[in-house]
Symmetry: C2
Subunit: 212 residues, 2 copies
DNA sequence: CAAATAGTGTCTCTAAGACACTATTCC
DNA sequence: GGAATAGTGTCTTAGAGACACTATTTG
């Protein structure tokens, strides 16, 4: 039975939306790399792998990230399933979209490009649609899903960085009210100010509590 | 290539949480039926099917519902993916959990049992875990996801029914405040009172706007 | 009338948002 | 001081929740 059943299934891939926040650019970036094989050879695409028998989604996401030459244990989570049958010209395939947060400074391999979520070029398959659909999810997860948020901010960050992150991902946010949002966050503590800045009052430094 | 790749994939099933609200019992019920084959032959289980090549999730959910002898086009949506490799004794398999809202009065086939979400007996596979995990989702979707809510309430309903539904799915809810929640709902209109009741002031009748 | 159920009036608390004002830095 | 950036005070609105009170029905 197993053989015939498997033959009738769609292929199942895990595609990863690898996100990082780059304070210098004041934007959230997503990691993409050119495909090495047809279809869409040479086109930029989200890193993805075929889900292996018995493999956990998180494991597959980690394998996907190795396509960007990113290794190590990064926070990941489910986004949603994309099931449009013609999304892959090779035939019907499912995409299980996962998010992953990449530490700032992890640039990945030579051919990895980090694009702003606002200004994404044309990607292979339905990957643009995947990004657009998941982006609203990300906006609602920020400051609500702590693993996700902490993954983007890193263990410590300044008010300014947090503000830029929030503006970029969620859009409208009043600067005057933003500190109140940070103060309400559980597991987050203010730790004095940042000494080194150029021009203007230095921002508060925030540190996530140990727990994790 | 296709053959070898498919052989290495987990099987993928779509399991449906078929929900209906039964005003008489003042509770949300989930449809389960005894399995006809091993494993777990005879055990109650969520209706599920193997996802066919090229099949949409919604189509698979509809096929699953036919296991409960429920046909017709009902609202469905994604819940989440369950990927624990040992969730099926036959071998690694993914479960794509979907919700479906069944019109009140649709009882399905002879062997279908409708269990309260509060008092669910032991189900096959990891189906209890699936229900528990998805239930928090349902609580947050009620009165926020209109397709979901409308599927549970039906096209028209009374304040009392809506209150019972909300209490059962989301827990705490103050009766005094509940009408305000209904008044805030977009696409929902009050349409006078229900004439026939026994004992007590008759509740308001609410009707969803045509749009759908 | 009493009992039962439905619905309103208020008050509190919290989050979100607007917006003027104050605070701290560098030049 | 002036420019630049960070942060507070305060007011408004909306939703959630508590809770007493009023309203409408049946018997």
């Amino acid at each position: 039975m197993t053989g015939s059943v498997l033959d009738s299934a769609s292929t199942t891939s895990v595609d990863v939306l690898a996100l990082r926040f780059r304070p210098q650019a004041q934007q959230v970036e997503i990691g993409v790399s050119p495909r090495k094989w047809a279809p869409y050879k040479g086109s930029l695409a989200l890193p993805g792998v075929l889900l292996l028998r018995g493999e956990r989604l998180t494991e597959a996401a980690t394998r996907s990230l190795s396509k960007l030459s990113i290794s190590g244990d990064v926070p990941t989570g489910q986004c949603m399933v994309f099931d449009e049958p013609s999304r892959d010209p090779r035939g019907p395939s499912l995409s299980l979209a996962m998010w992953a947060t990449i530490p700032a400074g992890e640039d990945g391999g030579e051919d990895v490009e980090w694009h702003s979520l606002d200004d994404l070029s044309t990607l292979a398959f339905d990957h643009n649609e995947i990004v657009v659909n998941c982006r609203t999810l990300f906006a609602s997860m920020l400051w609500r899903d702590q693993r996700f948020t902490r993954g983007l901010t890193g263990e410590s960050f300044t008010s300014k960085q947090a503000f830029d992150l929030t503006m970029n991902l969620s859009g409208a946010m009043n600067k005057g009210n933003f500190n109140r949002l940070l103060k309400r966050q559980p597991n987050l503590e203010a730790r004095g100010n940042v000494p080194t800045t150029e021009g203007g009052r230095p921002p508060t430094q925030w540190v996530w509590a140990q727990s994790h």
